[in-house]
């Protein structure tokens, strides 16, 4: 495809590899069409000494398929423009053409690291539409399996964060930790990752002996195990120096950016949907919401580790207060909810995970809007990154922990 010039005939005879003006655009990630919006114009007009680096869809550490065009001045990032859509499957359109039960299995792969939460949001919204009362045992099982999934997701976060900073060991330890929990959830739900376990009005299967024995065995050593894994990173000077003071965001900016979950609690806003807008049986379980005020990557990392301890407390209480009784509410096989609208939001490991359902009385949802926290936090990366070094892009993006499945619904 490259035209080769016999020696001496090239326009600049002395150096065939000098880029001519018309060739400049060929190798730059500048889009061929003229800029259509003000922001695009401002981004794609290079200043002096600035170059565009294309961290393309196949990049070792973009947590999934994401392309980010960086405007660099030397090693310092001037501005970034994330390009999404590589993983867009049109889940909302598909859900509009499937009946209410089938939407649950469509929503699992949205945030595939913690897919129980992807099911929990819409299921609560449907139950609001159907005005159905979920039995208490099902609520307890949901909280129990949800918190387990949260710990697994945070364990993986710790591994990813260390891998993006160059450490090889923590990712393996976090996968061993996560694998234990995922095997346990497989004993309960039947699947390791995309569980399809919550049903409208309850849960698919009851607690069985296999699950409880694995849970008991793991609970006995969970605290100590997570502690030793943390020792590798929390006090490691290299890790702390690279993460501290990176991508700091203050209270006001975080609220403006609609951030939720651990990222906003690391900036000092104690907004956790489990306490701010209690759902399920969280009011009856006592646990605190860890918050920090620095708002940098290290704070976000340490905050997630505190959350893991809180989740362990919740699991203990769930096991103690587990009532017995049915695990599914009485519902007809074919659900035709009343025409109406419902919104439900839950606290996922990455932030508030919301579902907005409009039903038109038929068995298919008329409109299902999923609000995914990773989508918002990836946008926050665009606001945090300018001014940092190239090596920090990965650290900041890892600390906000976006999952591309949720971003590209």
């Amino acid at each position: 495809m490259a035209t080769t010039y016999p020696h001496g005939t090239h326009k600049s005879a002395d150096d065939p590899h000098v880029l001519l003006d018309d060739e400049y655009g060929q190798y730059e990630p500048i889009p061929p069409y003229p800029p259509r919006t003000e922001r695009e114009l401002e981004f794609y007009t290079p200043g002096d000494g600035e170059m565009y680096l294309n961290m393309g869809p196949q990049h070792p550490s973009t947590h999934g398929v994401l392309r980010v065009v960086l405007k660099l001045n030397g090693e310092r990032v001037v501005d970034i423009d994330p390009v999404l859509g590589y993983l867009h499957r049109g889940v909302e359109k598909l859900c509009e053409n499937a009946d209410y039960h089938q939407t649950i299995s469509q929503l699992d792969p949205l945030e595939y690291i913690s897919s129980l939460f992807c099911e929990w949001g819409p299921v609560i919204a449907y139950e609001k539409l159907l005005d159905v009362q979920v039995p208490r045992r099902a609520e307890y099982i949901r909280v129990l399996s949800g918190e387990l999934n949260r710990i697994a997701s945070h364990a993986l976060f710790m591994g990813w964060f260390a891998l993006d900073l160059g450490g090889l060991a923590p990712i393996l330890y976090s996968f061993i930790e996560r694998d234990e929990i995922v095997e346990m959830l497989a004993a309960l739900t039947g699947q390791r990752m995309l569980f399809n376990y919550f049903r409208i009005g309850g849960v698919n299967g009851d607690l069985n002996h296999d699950f409880l024995s694995r849970l008991g065995d793991w609970m006995s050593r969970a605290g100590k195990q997570i502690e030793t894994n943390l020792a590798l990173l929390n006090e490691n000077e290299i890790f702390v120096r690279r993460a501290r003071g990176l991508g700091t965001i203050d209270r006001e900016a975080a609220l403006r950016l609609c951030m939720t979950g651990p990222n906003i609690r690391a900036s000092g806003v104690p907004f956790d949907v489990r306490r701010a807008h209690p759902y399920s049986i969280y009011p009856e379980i006592d646990f605190e919401i860890p918050t920090r005020s620095e708002g940098d990557s290290l704070a976000r990392y340490l905050l997630r580790m505190d959350e893991v301890k809180q989740s362990l407390r919740i699991i203990d209480q769930c096991l103690e207060q587990m009532p017995d009784g049915p695990i599914m509410a009485k519902l007809p096989r074919l659900l035709r909810p009343r025409p109406g609208r419902a919104w439900a939001a839950i606290e996922g490991p990455r932030g508030m995970y919301g579902a907005y359902v409009i039903s038109d009385g038929t068995d298919q949802p008329f409109r299902l809007k999923i609000h995914d926290p990773s989508f918002i936090h990836l946008q926050a990366v665009g606001a945090l990154l300018p001014g940092h070094l190239l090596a920090d892009t990965m650290a900041i993006m890892a600390s906000l922990d976006p999952v591309m499945g949720g971003v590209d619904k």
């Binding site: 889009p31 069409y33 259509r36 919006t37 003000e38 922001r39 695009e40 999404l84 859509g85 867009h88 049109g90 909302e92 359109k93 598909l94 053409n97 499937a98 009946d99 609001k128 900016a253 609220l255 403006r256 950016l257 609609c258 951030m259 939720t260 907004f271 701010a276 807008h277 074919l334 035709r336 025409p339 109406g340 609208r341 419902a342 919104w343 939001a345 508030m352 919301g354 907005y356 409009i358 039903s359 038109d360 009385g361 038929t362 068995d363 298919q364 008329f366 409109r367 809007k369 609000h371 989508f375 918002i376 946008q379 926050a380 606001a383 590209d408 619904k409």
Partner: protein, 182 residues
Amino acid sequence: MDRALRSRLQARFGLELHGEIRQRNDETELRIGAGDVVDVLRALHDEPAFDFAILADLAGVDTGREMQVVYHLWSQSTNDWLRVIVEGLSRDDPRIASATFLWKGAEWMERETYDMFGIVFEGNRDLRRIYMPPDYTSFPLRKDFYLADDSARSPGAGVRHMERTHSPAEAGEAPLRSGTGT
């Protein structure tokens, strides 16, 4: 169900409201026209009585006859979710004021809504397509964009020809039962 909130809202936004404020479970829903989005949202965000600090979600809706934009807000002052439905946007040229002046985070949500429904948000600095390729012309989540393959049939709604769900001809008159939550 926060009765006090309903009365406060009724008192404050009496004339902008379309229809009465409906409340059910833990959600409060009020409907306004496209014109007065800016001052209603600013009032809800800035006034200490409401103090809706967090924009939980911004969604576009195509009800077959008109376009709507739905804002979900959260505030410490009440334990209800507030849903602000901006209705009355025409289907062929839906325009609405952007919320980025209050929440910078709404920029991408508006980009997604534009990409999926074609609703233009005036004042959004970066209204480009976010998921679809830049040269994509149609808006996928609109009701008249029908899926060609037969994954669109529904077992429960009786037998319907596999290839077509809401055919454009039907999109005109209400394909829906009365009262889609209207």
